[in-house]
Symmetry: C2
């Protein structure tokens, strides 16, 4: 694995795991009035798109990263719908 | 451009533009107590990583998408620091 690949994997790890602190904060507060419904609707749609793209290419790093991003975004979206 | 490329571009457009409604909501409310500081710190670091990756590969779609994502994430992070 060359240094460019390593930077790509670190970047993918960061932009995927970034949703964890937001999910945790919203779960803990049981309030989501400052969380944008539009953001998480679009993010869920976008990660579904990336997942289809990864599956069509057979690109496992894209598939794995977007299964995680999709799960976290969908969880935040569901909390937004429940907690308002 | 084949259908796989089109899905990739649509996905990139969605996951990039998803930050716009969050930036707009936080700007309008002038409050950010429900927005995770950790999320936007990690997201800024991750998009900087993607930007370096895109520059090293000379991949313009990655560069353009991540300049936009980085700008929006940094804007939300600054609002979080100001509005608390």
């Amino acid at each position: 694995m060359n240094s460019i690949d390593i930077i790509g994997y670190v970047a993918a790890f960061l932009t995927t795991s970034a949703f964890i602190p937001q999910a945790w904060l919203t779960w803990r507060r049981k309030r989501a009035e400052g969380v944008s419904l539009g953001m998480y609707c679009i993010m869920v749609a976008g990660t579904v798109g990336w997942l289809i793209y990864g599956i069509m290419l057979g690109a496992w790093p894209i598939i794995v990263a977007n299964v995680i991003s999709l799960s976290l975004s969908a969880f935040i979206l569901i909390m937004k719908l429940i907690y308002k």
